[in-house]
Symmetry: C3
Subunit: 116 residues, 3 copies
Amino acid sequence: MTIVRIDSGARMSQAVVYGGVVSTAGQVAKVTQGESVTAQATEILQSIDRLLTEAGSDKSRLLTAQIWLSDIQDFGEFNKVWDDWVAPDAAPTRACVESKLVVPALKVEIAVTAAI
Amino acid sequence: MTIVRIDSGARMSQAVVYGGVVSTAGQVAKVTQGESVTAQATEILQSIDRLLTEAGSDKSRLLTAQIWLSDIQDFGEFNKVWDDWVAPDAAPTRACVESKLVVPALKVEIAVTAAI
Amino acid sequence: MTIVRIDSGARMSQAVVYGGVVSTAGQVAKVTQGESVTAQATEILQSIDRLLTEAGSDKSRLLTAQIWLSDIQDFGEFNKVWDDWVAPDAAPTRACVESKLVVPALKVEIAVTAAI
C-alpha cells in the first residue's frame, strides 16, 4: 500500500494518507501576532479543510481530533468556532488539553484524522 | 467503509469506529470536585470499558493509550489503578504527560484505541 | 487480524502492530541526568529505529509523530537532531508541544506510527 505525503518537507508532511485514513500534522495559524483564538482557530480549520480536500476527504469523514490550547481558559472561545465548523452528525472524537506551543503568539494547534 | 459514531453530539463523539479500530475521545470523570486521582481514573476506565463494549471490542484488544495528568506527581497513584485494569498480555502502547485539563478539578484524561 | 505486541509488560507495550501499522509508546531516554536535549533525542530516535525494525518497518515508512518537549525553548536544538534523522521524502506528520514529562530530567518524549 502506498503512503501519500501532502505538503511534504524535510521536517514534516502536513498530511499523510495511508490505509484509507488521512492524518494531518498539528496545524497552527500563520499570522499570529495579536490574533485572537477565534481568528487562529478559523484559519486553522480552513487549513484542515484544504488538507482534507487534497487527501480526498472532507470534514464529514472526520475520525479524531487533538486540540492543544496554550491557555485552557480559551476553551469556551475556541469551542464556538469548533462547534460552528463540525459537520452535522459527523463529530470526531476529541481531546483538548493545555500545552504551550512553539511560539508564545500561538494559542491553538489542531491535528485530525479522517477517513478517505 | 462506514464510520460508526458512538455517543455522538454536535461537538464530539465519545468513540468512532472505522477500519476495524475504535478510537475514544479523551475521557474525564463526571464528578470531580474533591475526587482523588484514584477515583477519577477508576471512573474513566469504566467509561472506556463501556465504550469499547459498545464498539464491539474490549480492553484485551487495546492498541494505544494517551494519558494526560494535570499534575505529573500523580503518576504513581495513577499507575496503581492503570496496572490493575490492564488485561494480562494485552498492554497497549502508552504516552503519559502533564497537561492542564479543561477544569482545574480534572486530574486525569485518557484516550485509547482498540482493535474490534 | 492479530495484534502483535513488542517489548510488552504489565503497564504498556513499547510498540503494537495492527492492520499494517505499528504504533510506538512514548519513548524517553534511559540515562537522563544532565543529558542534553541532543543526547536524549538521539537515544530516543535510536530506540524508535529499533522498534520499527522489530515491527518490520523503518523510518522511511513513518506516518505520524507526536513530540513532547518539557521546555518548548528546546525546539531549535531538538529540530537539528530530528531533521538529520528523517529519511529523504519520507517526513511524517508531526505535532510538537510542551508538556512536563514523568521526571524532571526528561526533556523529550516521542511517539510515532509507521506503515509496515
